[in-house]
Symmetry: C2
């Protein structure tokens, strides 16, 4: 089965016709804000700003190195225990000093690498939100700022997947790290760790969808080989969050997901920077 | 086991001392060009240039969407058959028209998505190097240019993994797509498909390492969760290609790799844009 696509533009609206070519199914017509505006007005990264995305296969987790390339100061967002040696090696090769190992929330699907990175790279400090309930060297709340070199991460509280979920925003670079609050064409589940679809919907609309459409969004996970998205894309094409609140609640309350397989192992470890397991070895 | 790192800089040279902290092993000292220059002078992407990296897990293959965001014209580099529907959907959502589906070489580890994408998105044309021996709508040779919107990919012949391997370079954006010629901290094997370590070494040094150190390099695969690298990083830290030609040949001739598990299926399919299999279904 394949399809033929035709677009008819009327101002900012598009009629998209999708016609199945091998079958004789009726023409499917969708009217929405024109998707051809999804890939415009890119915000260029500063020449002194460095970003490198890293992936951990077992839990499909993305880790991000951000750095000030002049001052050689770096941070890591959402490091994974099993990849801590890799991450430390990349930082060393890049000549970057790790200032903070940061989590977007207390993960239930993998053990954080923050504790191990503190051992591998002495001087590193761990950060998580106060509301997460996990221990760290420093705690952040909504509106706080985390500095590395001349760059600044702004902390936006985005609860709903967990109480302590935050999104980290770099306004100058036009990018944000959404953790599990917003995934690419999806979102984190809301049936564990004080999850609430109503709270998550409010978080995403108030703190993430309120950013400019051309902001690039980097999630904590992806399971389909997607690496990044944008505010505009998710507003239009997120199959859950583009819906009304009522529809969203209905979707989230009927996902029928299995019990999170790593949760009983990951949560006790992540309460103490992932070192629960390490100390037992 | 973890280690403590100290750097002593003497001009452009660094002495890096790595000390194992839990054991009393002797201090390991390495002298090399200073790694702290790895993350400087980033080249900003043009605001009208779009890039999106995509991943296919079974063969650990990266596919890239590149586009001119004003003219809405896109190309795909190294698409994978099983992901063709995903790729077509992303292009549609972004409002981009696919002009070319391009391969860096005739892959032996996965079936290309070019043929399927031509069916999904009529008007798309396939491109591969003339030297690959595979069929396509258009063939390219060293020095050729592929245009999409106002942007241009420059074709650099980089044989050695296969005879037909090319690297696609966007000089204005400071990025290059190296296929299997250069992988992150590695390279493609040279024991199949007319592979030759001597030819590969020459290709990488003449066509890739001759680019500025701050050019970002995107490979066709990665198996360790790395997503990108730079010319400077690979010159210094590629465990194979940072060595002398003699050492490189010795390494490549002693990898003792297993027979490529997909090669008997992938090569006949990839000779005909991946449609060999599709037509049999």
């Amino acid at each position: 089965m394949f399809w033929r696509q035709t677009q008819i533009r009327v101002g900012r609206l598009c009629a998209v016709t999708l016609q199945k070519v091998t079958t004789h199914s009726p023409l499917h017509v969708r009217l929405h804000h024109c998707s051809s505006e999804m890939a415009t007005d890119r915000i260029p990264l500063s020449t002194d700003f460095f970003i490198r995305q890293l992936f951990s296969t077992p839990s499909s987790t993305y880790t991000y190195i951000l750095a000030d390339v002049k001052q050689k100061e770096a941070i890591l967002i959402d490091p994974v225990l099993e990849e801590a040696n890799r991450d430390a090696k990349v930082l060393e090769e890049l000549g970057l000093k790790l200032k903070y190992a940061i989590n977007t929330h207390m993960h239930a699907d993998h053990v954080t690498g923050t504790g191990m990175l503190k051992k591998l790279l002495p001087g590193t400090r761990s950060i998580i939100s106060k509301a997460s309930g996990a221990s760290a060297d420093e705690y952040v709340n909504d509106g706080d700022t985390i500095s590395f070199g001349r760059h600044q991460l702004k902390v936006a509280s985005t609860p709903g997947h967990t109480n302590g979920c935050v999104t980290y925003i770099l306004h100058e670079q036009g990018i944000a790290f959404t953790g599990d609050a917003l995934l690419i064409r999806g979102c984190g589940r809301t049936d564990f760790q004080e999850g609430s679809p109503t709270i998550l919907y409010k978080s995403v609309y108030e703190k993430i969808f309120s950013l400019p459409d051309n902001f690039t969004l980097y999630p904590a996970h992806d399971y389909k080989g997607m690496t990044a998205t944008s505010v505009g894309e998710e507003k239009h094409f997120n199959p859950r969050l583009s819906k009304s609140l009522e529809e969203f609640i209905n979707i989230m309350n009927n996902l029928n997901l299995p019990y999170p397989k790593m949760i009983d192992k990951a949560l006790p470890a992540n309460k103490v920077c992932g070192l629960y397991e390490v100390e037992q070895k």
